[in-house]
Symmetry: C3
Subunit: 168 residues, 3 copies
Amino acid sequence: MPLVRIDALPAGTDRLDALGRAVHDALVETIDIPPNDLFQVLTSHDGSTSTLRYADFLDVPRDDDVVFVAITMRAGRPPEVKQAMYRRISELVEKYAGTDPRNVLVTVTENASPDWSFGHGLAQYLQSVGSLERPSMARGSAELLAEDLLDGGCGDRVVAGAGLREDL
Amino acid sequence: MPLVRIDALPAGTDRLDALGRAVHDALVETIDIPPNDLFQVLTSHDGSTSTLRYADFLDVPRDDDVVFVAITMRAGRPPEVKQAMYRRISELVEKYAGTDPRNVLVTVTENASPDWSFGHGLAQYLQSVGSLERPSMARGSAELLAEDLLDGGCGDRVVAGAGLREDL
Amino acid sequence: MPLVRIDALPAGTDRLDALGRAVHDALVETIDIPPNDLFQVLTSHDGSTSTLRYADFLDVPRDDDVVFVAITMRAGRPPEVKQAMYRRISELVEKYAGTDPRNVLVTVTENASPDWSFGHGLAQYLQSVGSLERPSMARGSAELLAEDLLDGGCGDRVVAGAGLREDL
């Protein structure tokens, strides 16, 4: 589910790949998504036709190794989970790509269950088991939405696993 | 109003154009926007300096025809409208660009009326008819915001049409 | 804190730079961020491998000078502040880059304090002064979140300044 955009200044394919793996592994470890829940847009900017601009906000000394990570995911993760996610991203970005943690900006934008379609034109997070085969048993989307608010939109592993066997 | 980002792997101009038309036609048909409400950023990634990464989340077998569609629009569309939008996007992407619906990821991020400026430095969704010519008749932005919450931020056609004749 | 994406059609480095400066100066003037709070992704699209699509929504006559500005920032700025921001962006984009205000689209997406990490793997907006050195004095993230809701997520200058001296 997270859609992740990673922007860096001129980076070879290897560095781009390392950045992508670092962020993804960190998400799998910290926000409870399955390893195959991978949707990334990785961009290396050449510095002329496209570029990044940055300064030393909060006195953090950034340089051209700067990496911007923008994560869109469902609402519900508490602040401490996000904090753990940031920490792990910075650790793995350093480990895999050699990028100093001071150069890693991360921002999160949240949405809700109806805001995702993972293919086949379906809103999978709104599908219940068997809803396609047996419409009479399908729960209303309002009910599922209510559940989503209650559980904070998390537990992707469960919902995804449940919906997938019969719905797809 | 929707700002739509479409990301694909190496795609000729024709495919990029087809993807853009497919998504736009689907939005016009399903979320009640006028045909000229078109704002898209279309990007074909070469796979080296920029690329997409994906896996088989929910057992959907994706391949390099994968397309990521990220839609930013005002809040208020109910889940069933979004479901219809996903379905129509996948149908038209297949029809116009020959892309299998399993390869289409769509995600929505919502904002509100004050979050849009369509040129001239104005927040058009906050302008009422004649507000520029006759400031004393302009309704407060709080009032318009309240309306927006009530009507769910939809009905763009009406609001836009009303604001446009005198405001621009 | 704002992460700003600016997309334009073929633009030399000079125009891209001017657009970036225009938007940033406008934000500093209107939404109370310090000048070094700068995080931008600037992209010039060549019109073939990547491009922008637009029409005349709200009867605004756009052309290939069109600029899309997408701002992600913390929630809390009232509509009149956003209106002032749009106005100033359009003025400075015209002044610095010669781009007519009719060609400037701006959209805002909001998030919250826990949604930002400015390096070092920290969620800086959740850190209180001295929280790293003296954990027992650190206020809980729930408390800081509550404050954030109360103050509308603004006052970046203060929070940032307070957190920075001891935390980084």
